[in-house]
Subunit: 291 residues, 2 copies
C-alpha cells in the first residue's frame, strides 16, 4: 500500500473515470487500472464498481476513500512544513548571549535579523551560570555570542564587531576634558565593575595588572544600567564599550591610551549539523556590520 496508489485511487474516485484520472495524473490508463487492481488485490475486495458507465465507489471503497484522503492530506502537509524549513519561513535555533552583549550588541543584531527572517525564532540563553562557550560545547545552544578571542581551537568563530573600550567618568570629573587617559592617570580612581565571571571585568583587571596597579573596586554589579547610573552619580569611574553608551547625562567617555578593544563574535561547533535557521543566522552575521 503505497502513497502513489492512494493518490491514483482518490483521483479515480473523484473523477469517476479511469481515463480522465490517467490524463490528470499524466500517466497512461492501463497504469491506473493496474494500480487500482493491485490495491484491491491487497485489500481483498473491490473498491470501485466498474459495471456501470460511471465508476462508482463500493461501500468499502467509500470508507477507504476517506482514510486515503486523510493520509494524502497529511503527507502534503508534512511536505509543506519541510518546504517551509527549507525556505527559511519556519525554523528556530538556540543562541547563548552573555549579559553584556545582550545589552547592546544583540538587540541590534536580533532586530536586523528578524527584519530579514521574520518567521525564524531564536531561543536566547542569557543565564550567567554557564559561559556561552560551555553551552556551545555541550550543544545546549547552537551558537554563542562572545567576547573574542578565547582559546577556541575546537570551535568555529566569526568576528562581528571590534568595539573600543572607553573610560566613563562623571562629566564634572577633573579628568573629563582630557583627549585620552592612561591607566597611570586612573590608578587612584575608585572603579565600578561587572561582577565576577563577566569577561569585561577580567579584561579591565588584566589591564590594571599589566601596569602593576591594584585598583580600588568601589562596587560590582551585573546590571549595565546600574554601572552607568553610579558613574553619573560620581561613585566611581568605569570601562565600557564605546557604542554601548550613546549619550548619558553627566557621563563623559574618553578613550584609553593605548587604545583598548573588545572583539565580539559568534562561535559554533564545527562538524555539528546546525538547523537551517541557525545557518541563516551565521550567514546573516557574516554580512552584518554593527552600526
Amino acid at each position: 500500500m503505497d502513497i502513489r496508489e492512494l493518490e491514483y485511487f482518490v483521483t479515480v474516485s473523484e473523477l469517476q473515470n479511469f481515463t480522465a484520472a490517467a490524463n490528470k495524473l499524466h500517466i497512461s490508463q492501463p497504469a491506473i487500472s493496474k494500480s487500482i487492481h493491485k490495491l484491491e488485490e491487497e485489500l481483498g475486495f473491490q473498491l470501485l464498481d466498474r459495471t456501470q458507465k460511471k465508476v462508482l465507489l463500493t461501500e468499502e471503497g467509500t470508507v477507504f476513500l476517506d482514510l486515503a484522503k486523510d493520509i494524502l492530506a497529511r503527507m502534503i502537509a508534512a511536505q509543506n512544513t519541510m518546504i517551509e524549513y527549507k525556505n527559511l519561513t519556519r525554523g528556530n535555533f538556540r543562541i547563548a548571549v552573555p549579559p553584556l552583549l545582550g545589552a547592546y550588541v544583540f538587540p541590534q543584531l536580533f532586530a536586523d535579523f528578524k527584519k530579514s527572517y521574520p518567521s525564524l525564532d531564536m531561543s536566547v540563553y542569557e543565564d550567567g551560570s554557564s559561559t556561552a562557550v560551555d553551552l556551545v560545547r555541550n550543544e545546549d545552544v547552537h551558537v554563542g555570542l562572545i567576547i573574542l578571542p578565547s582559546n577556541l581551537t575546537d570551535l568555529h568563530s566569526h568576528l562581528i564587531t571590534s568595539q573600543e573600550i572607553v573610560v566613563c567618568l562623571p562629566t564634572d570629573h577633573p579628568l573629563s576634558n582630557e583627549p585620552f587617559l592612561t591607566f597611570e592617570q586612573l590608578k587612584d580612581e575608585p572603579i565600578i565593575l561587572y561582577n565576577e565571571g563577566f569577561v569585561l571585568r577580567k579584561i579591565i583587571l588584566d589591564e590594571y595588572a599589566k601596569h602593576n596597579i591594584v585598583p580600588s573596586v568601589a562596587l560590582s554589579t551585573n546590571q549595565f544600567q546600574t554601572i552607568k547610573a553610579l558613574v553619573a552619580k560620581g561613585v566611581g569611574i568605569s570601562f565600557l564599550p564605546k557604542n554601548s553608551i550613546k549619550v548619558v547625562n553627566h557621563v563623559t567617555k574618553i578613550p584609553l591610551h593605548p587604545h583598548l578593544f573588545l572583539d565580539m563574535g559568534l562561535i559554533w561547533k564545527p562538524d555539528k549539523i546546525l538547523p537551517l535557521a541557525c545557518k541563516a543566522f551565521i550567514d546573516f552575521v557574516n554580512d552584518f556590520t554593527y552600526k
Copy 2:
C-alpha cells in the same frame, strides 16, 4: 516521498543506527543509506547527523520524524480498518423489511445473524411508502425481505421460508371446529385486512376474486396486533401466516382448502457490488432455516 522511505527513516531514527535498522527491516544496509539520501535530497537538507558514532536527528529531522510517525500510524490504522471489513468484524448494509415480515420473520433472522456476526450492522428500512422491491431497484437498500414471487426478472432472489396462510377465527365461531375451510364457506364472513399496499391483502383479495366472491371488508389496518385483537373480539375473520401467531387467546387457526402458502425471500440487484457484510448476510440466509 514514499511510505517506505518514511518507514526506513523512522526505524533508523529510533535505532540510531543504519545497520541495525537494515537488519530489522530485512534489507541490506546500502538500501537504507540510499533511501535516506533520497529523502534528504528531495527535502533539500539533512535529517540525520552521521558525524558522531550514533546517528542523531538534526533539528529538521526531529520535526520530520513526528510527521512521518503520524503518517505511518494513520497508514497502519487505515489498513487495519480495511482488514476488519475483510474479516467481517466491521461493516454495515441496508435492508428493506416490510411491516408484515418485520413482525415475525425478520426478528429471528436478525437475532441469529447477529449471533454469528456481532460486529456487523444493518440499517432496516421498514417504511411503507416504497415497496421493498423499489428500494432494492433504486439501490436505496442492498437487499430486501419480501413475499415471493413477484415478477422479478431483473433481481436475484432467494427463498427463506414458505409459510401457510391460515384462517383466524374467534374461538367461539361456528366454523372454529372445522379441520379446514374453503372460501365458499367464508363468503359471508366480514374480514379484517392489512391496508392497501400490503402484499398479504392483495393475495387474499386475489383468492376471493378467483372464487368470484366479493368479501365484506370490516376494517383495514397496518397493525398486526390490531388484526389479532379484532379477530379475538369477534369483529371479523382474518388470514395470517401460520407461524406469525403462536397462541392467542380466543383465536383459532384453521388451514384453507386448498392450502395457501406465502413464500418469503431475500432479493438483491444482480451485478451490483454489495458490501461484504451484505454478502455475508445473503450467504447466511442461504443456510438459514426458519423455525
